[in-house]
Symmetry: C2
Subunit: 321 residues, 2 copies
């Protein structure tokens, strides 16, 4: 393939200059677990760490994509470059329910300052949350000042991804009734900003009141941030300037309290730790697989004479570092 | 807590005799990542490896739970003990959409030969797929001859869980139209049996034809199994005896070809490998965290002078096993 032959540093330079095609190609390499992708990411790394990462989490039907669309527009008005990573649960099984939503975002697709990337929830070598993290790094290096991660908030990977964000906004809508009770724990856990979208529908004030009541029961956060509840009507662009203003306030707050840079290091360290483990894994199994102790354990596992927990413990006492 | 004080071996004996309360308690310990749970699982292990694990995967609205309900009834008629693990995406965010479905299963809840366990898709120390696997081992030890894992098939953890199953059935329904195209890859990848539920609705024959066409494009499986397409109307119990008969045929096929026992070892080995890595991880970081090389790398990471990939590589060249 011609692309692979061409000079890596040139491609990295194109990405840093914000070339969308070059960026999209690197993201695909990373999704495929191509080692060349990692090499390019290393070269890009000095250009990362500047982007403001916003998570927007909400159930299907909450108008999340329209909301993201409006938020893009608002950030663009102040001249900021915006990228979106949409974690799309349109797995082969659940069907492409969100494809329609994606299409709505197309009004920004002729705008060079906007980059939108959908990411399926499966088929990632090394895990979805890793690919998502790497994609955010690429977008950051490309010079996007705001990087929005849009998720439906189902599953563990997704919660981990929401935690990449500097600011996590959780979307709910009127008429959710009992579901709010189920959402409660999660809202309090990850939401820096709570949004009630479709706030022109009946019951909007009820849900705002309910959310505010919940927040009074939330233990005061160590950081001192007071989670606000904002009303929006994304299709009419109502409440969007106020929401984007709140994002900016939270960002300012994180920078002033030093949380912004701590947050970044926390994720780099986790990433580093996982990577060390991956590299160690191969070495360990290379080193032990010739030993007779290992062969005995594997035979016993095969014959169900030993359980995998005990087997692992027996083997690991032999590790010397 | 009184329960924790009581003798572990006694509790294990009660689980092996099929006591549902004792089983449920152990599953909860495992979900919480309690080390005592692992100790009990070790004691139970010799009693595992007999259960037939069936995966039922389908999108919300496919009548999957009613179908599982009917399948339970059919297996019960031949006197087999049946357990269900329902992987329930009622995360705090998505809401408890499946709670209603769970209630429908209650007609079996007074039957001692049936055990139903819902499992949230998040909040599992050590990962959802690990907890699901451990739960299946407990149910197996309790003497359940058929263990059904019900999932909606969204996300990577879920696909991994579907692969625990000896037999994977994928549910679709009439009128899915274009979604079938999206489902295609996944259907071919994991389905040993394809089910068209709600087959009394218009378009049922169309979808059967479409699925059969897809199957003709599937490369012949190494095992030699021909994936069938079956029609069911779960609410009227139509097609259920034929479906359960097909499960039995696939089980027989797996045993006759030796795949059944290979499959079990494959999972034990993966489990063992993960566990070895977990145990090694702590030792590695204990061993290196005092070294000056490690301290320098962490400082560089903090100051963004090094990327996490290069940092991990620099550290791992120092590992000697």
């Amino acid at each position: 393939m011609n692309y692979k032959d061409c000079d890596m540093k040139n491609r990295v330079q194109r990405i840093i200059r914000g070339n969308q095609l070059a960026g999209a190609r690197l993201i695909r390499l990373l999704e495929e677990g191509d080692p060349q992708g990692i090499e390019m990411l290393k070269l890009l790394y000095p250009n990362t760490g500047k982007g403001y990462i916003v998570g927007i989490t909400g159930p299907p039907g909450s108008g999340k994509s329209t909301l993201v669309n409006s938020i893009i527009g608002e950030f663009r008005q102040s001249g900021m470059k915006v990228a979106v990573v949409a974690i799309d649960p349109s797995s082969p099984i659940s069907g492409g329910a969100l494809l329609g939503d994606r299409i709505r975002m197309r009004c920004h697709s002729v705008d060079d300052g906007v980059f939108i990337r959908s990411m399926a929830t499966r088929g990632h070598l090394g895990g979805l949350s890793r690919t998502a993290r790497e994609t955010v790094l690429v977008l950051d290096a490309m010079g996007y000042e705001v990087i929005i991660i849009e998720t439906v908030g189902v599953g563990q990977d997704e919660v981990e991804i929401a935690q990449f964000a500097h600011t996590s906004a959780v979307v709910s809508l009127p008429g959710m009734g009992d579901e709010i009770q189920v959402m409660k724990a999660g809202l309090l856990e990850i939401g820096d900003i709570l949004i009630v979208n479709k706030a022109d529908q009946p019951g909007a004030d009820d849900i705002v009141a309910e959310l505010q009541l919940m927040l009074t029961m939330k233990p005061t956060s160590d950081s001192g941030w007071q989670t606000p509840v904002l009303k929006t009507v994304a299709v009419k662009n109502q409440g969007i300037p106020e929401l984007v203003d709140m994002f900016q306030r939270h960002r300012r707050f994180l920078i002033d309290t030093g949380i912004f840079s701590e947050h970044s290091f926390k994720w780099e360290f986790l990433f580093f730790k996982k990577r060390v483990m991956e590299l160690a894994a191969d070495k360990i199994f290379d080193a032990i697989s010739d030993s007779s102790a290992y062969q005995v354990i594997i035979e016993d596992l095969k014959n169900r004479k030993i359980d995998p927990y005990t087997a692992a413990e027996q083997l690991s006492v032999r590790f010397k570092f």
